[in-house]
């Protein structure tokens, strides 16, 4: 099944792993997503601040498991404060049950991305997002 080609955009990655940030850098630097602007946050607090500063974000990739403020807490706070509700957030997680997913979506997650993921998973996600949000042709 082919998927539409994603276009470059503006992204925010929130993850406490430097390794993952390095991988995201590669993913957004080449291929169809080349030319994207990417902001990097190492924890939930930084992530929240960057989200607040960039209403133009195409997508936020939010790691679930982080110390201090985890992904779910960030989403919950965003929802409570009504911060940029139009910016889609994808929760990046290793495993989750249907109950976990329901909780995430209830807090405002647009979708889930399972680890380990391939670059094509991210591309597909962005393509699907852009197709959904595109104005009617």
């Amino acid at each position: 099944m082919s998927h539409a080609t994603p276009r470059p955009g503006t992204f925010l990655v929130v993850d406490d792993s430097a390794l993952h940030h390095q991988m995201y850098r590669l993913i957004f630097a080449k291929g169809p997503l080349a030319g994207s602007t990417v902001y990097h946050a190492m924890n939930g607090r930084e992530g929240y601040a960057l989200l607040a500063a960039h209403p133009e974000l195409t997508l936020v990739l939010l790691d679930l498991n982080m110390p201090q403020m985890n992904g779910l807490e960030l989403l919950t706070r965003r929802q409570a404060e009504g911060l940029h509700p139009h910016v889609p957030v994808v929760l990046v997680t290793t495993e989750s049950t249907p109950e976990d997913e329901a909780r995430g979506r209830a807090a405002g997650a647009w979708d889930y991305l399972r680890k380990p993921f391939q670059p094509s998973d991210v591309e597909r996600l962005v393509a699907r997002l852009q197709a959904e949000r595109a104005p009617a042709a």
Partner: protein, 181 residues
């Protein structure tokens, strides 16, 4: 490169490694140089002879300042000098080619060259100019110039009445420091 045969991957989708390889390969392909039709050289003099070095190997040319001798350094090393805080080895290319050491005059210069990842200074009598020379004028070194040093004299170019001897710096510096016959 490790490949994870056990891990499921989306059909045809590259793993993170393969992706990284592709990124690297793409960069390399984009950077492949077009064929060279002109030799871009910097020429310098040693004992009246004119030599040429590819300009890509040369970072800069500086005047000769204080050169500190390094005890027990290999014989063709004149010493080290301070290049904006970097300690630069200075090679006495003359002795390397079998000539007497340089008595520095005001025209002497140090050519700062990068060869095989190393940055070195070459002490020369004078530096002439940077010029582009047609590659098809390059001929193998004639017998008069050939000696023990043939391997790193990669050829000569006749230009009007000038004879420019091309030097392969990497080879020249890797030769053991034997004195020529």
């Amino acid at each position: 490169m490790p490949r994870s045969a056990n891990l499921p991957a989306a059909a045809g989708a590259p793993s993170m490694f393969e992706f990284a390889d592709q990124v690297a390969a793409g960069d390399a392909a984009a950077a492949a140089p077009a064929p060279v039709r002109q030799l871009h050289l910097i020429t310098f003099r040693l004992d009246g002879e004119e030599f040429g070095l590819p300009v890509e190997t040369v970072r800069e040319v500086i005047r000769v300042g204080d050169i500190t001798r390094v005890p027990q350094a290999p014989p063709h090393i004149r010493g080290v000098t301070n290049l904006r805080g970097r300690i630069l080895p200075v090679v006495e290319i003359r002795t390397r080619l079998g000539l007497a050491p340089l008595v520095p005059r005001s025209t002497a210069r140090i050519i700062v060259a990068e060869v095989r990842g190393r940055v070195l200074g070459l002490l020369v009598d004078s530096v002439a100019q940077v010029q582009k020379l047609p590659a098809d004028r390059l001929v193998p070194a004639p017998d008069e110039i050939k000696s023990a040093h043939t391997t790193y004299l990669t050829g000569v170019i006749h230009l009007n009445d000038r004879l420019i001897i091309l030097l392969d710096l990497a080879l020249a510096l890797d030769l053991p420091g034997a004195s020529p016959s």
